[in-house]
Each structure stands twice: as structure tokens, then as C-alpha cells.
């Protein structure tokens, strides 16, 4: 049995360095043939948005992303997995979320990163509030049914 992979999960206010996270994951591993990274950024919505404020549930955010990450390591043969989610006020163009999945072959890395993002969207306890450039009350971003559907397609007959 290969050593059980322990995913790295971080919930933080500060920015992250994508290249440094890839390097940290792959350093000393000659068995990794594929690294897939996804980073989610804050859009400016054609100039209307001045910032996104991300509220989160401390404790549960780490726990829930940890559970999703462990499920990914059980479903795909991964050599490394890092998930970072920021909270607080985030300016357009800045990073919000990062998933780095490393595997021997690309298929598992792509699938795992895709699964992580779909599950994160509908199960990680984060909420986005918009701040608008015109100073008007932006309000909370509505959850999309398309995100819920995207998460459901990964459901296995055995789960739940």
C-alpha cells in the first residue's frame, strides 16, 4: 500500500503564490507526471465591482474542505493535493481559491481538481458579498443551481 496522502488545506486572509505551491507539492517527488492547478480570481463584472467580501465559518471551512479533499484522495490516485481558500475583502483580479492536484498521470489530476472545485462551490461554508464601485449596496451573491448540479454529477451510487 502506498503511504496515505494527507492533503494540505489552508483557509487564510493573505494571498498565495501559485508557483510556490506547485513547487512545495512536487519537490522531492519523482513519481509525479501531472500537476493540474485551478485558481479562482475575483472578477470586476465590467467595472461594477470594487471588491468581494468573503465571509466564512471558521473551523467548519477547514473541516469541510478537508473532508472533500480526503474524498478526492480516495477516488483518484494522487501524489499531492493542496487546497487554499481566502477570506476577507478581495479586490478584482486577486486570487480567491487554489486547487493543486498532482498525480502520475493527467487524467486523475484533472478529475480530482474538477471534483474539488465543484464540491467546494456548493459545500464549503463561504459566502460572497459584493461591494460596488458606485457605492450602492451590493448584496450577497446568489447560489447558482448550475453549481449544485455540477456537484451532483460526482455523486456515486454508494455515497449517502
Amino acid at each position: 500500500m502506498p503511504a496515505v496522502l494527507v492533503p494540505t488545506v489552508r483557509i487564510q486572509r493573505q494571498d498565495f503564490d501559485v508557483a510556490a505551491e506547485i513547487a512545495a507539492l512536487t519537490q522531492g517527488h519523482a513519481d509525479i507526471g501531472a500537476v493540474v492547478t485551478f485558481s479562482g480570481l475575483c472578477r470586476d463584472e465590467q467595472g461594477a465591482l470594487s471588491a468581494l467580501e468573503l465571509e466564512h465559518y471558521p473551523g467548519m471551512a477547514e473541516a469541510e474542505i478537508g473532508r472533500i479533499a480526503i474524498e478526492a484522495t480516495e477516488r483518484w490516485p494522487l501524489q499531492g493535493l493542496t487546497v487554499i481558500h481566502r477570506h476577507g475583502k478581495i479586490a478584482p483580479g486577486a486570487n480567491i481559491v487554489l486547487v493543486v492536484a498532482a498525480s502520475a498521470h493527467r487524467h486523475a489530476a484533472f478529475e480530482a481538481a474538477n471534483f474539488l472545485m465543484d464540491y467546494l462551490k456548493s459545500r464549503a461554508p463561504f459566502w460572497k458579498k459584493e461591494h460596488r464601485t458606485d457605492g450602492s449596496e451590493g448584496g450577497w451573491v446568489d447560489a447558482k443551481e448550475t453549481d449544485a448540479e455540477a456537484a451532483r454529477r460526482w455523486k456515486q451510487p454508494s455515497s449517502e
Partner: protein, 85 residues
């Protein structure tokens, strides 16, 4: 037993507090019972929970559905559908 209730996003804003410790009255057995009871506690609660079906709930930091029993819960969080990622 005292239960800590925690609210997030627009649920928190409408109720007007981010957390509170409550003594649950007898007969409040499930999440659905809790949501109904909270609605009777005032206008803010009513506004926050007027469509209980959309409210997501976590007990001791794990997602549960509205049929879940709440006995023994130290911490129950109520929040809107999540929009992270």
C-alpha cells in the same frame, strides 16, 4: 442544555447577531422544529427564516438536512446556500 446558534451571511444580518446561546424548549427535536421555533422569536428571525427550505444547517460543523435530530448538538449553524470557490 445550552446550545450555541451561529448565523452567517444574510441570515446573520437579518437576525441581527452572529451567535447566541439558547436553552431549547422541550419538543424541539429536529432541525425543522428549531427553524419553526426560531421564527416565533421576532421579526428579524421571521425575515431570515421565512423560506426555511433554502436555509442550510450544520450541526457541530457538519452539514445536515432538516430532518436531523438536534439532541446533543453543541453548535448549530444556520446559513444561506454557499457561494465560495
Amino acid at each position: 442544555m445550552t446550545t450555541r446558534l451561529i448565523y452567517f451571511a444574510w441570515v446573520r444580518e437579518r437576525i441581527g447577531t452572529s451567535q447566541e446561546d439558547v436553552e431549547l424548549p422541550a419538543g424541539i427535536e429536529t432541525v425543522a422544529d428549531l427553524l419553526r421555533w426560531l421564527q416565533s422569536r421576532g421579526e428579524g428571525y421571521q425575515h431570515a427564516l421565512q423560506y426555511p427550505d433554502v436555509i442550510r444547517v450544520a450541526i457541530n460543523q457538519e452539514h445536515v438536512d432538516h430532518r436531523e435530530k438536534i439532541s446533543g448538538a453543541r453548535e448549530i449553524a444556520l446559513f444561506p446556500p454557499m457561494t465560495g470557490g
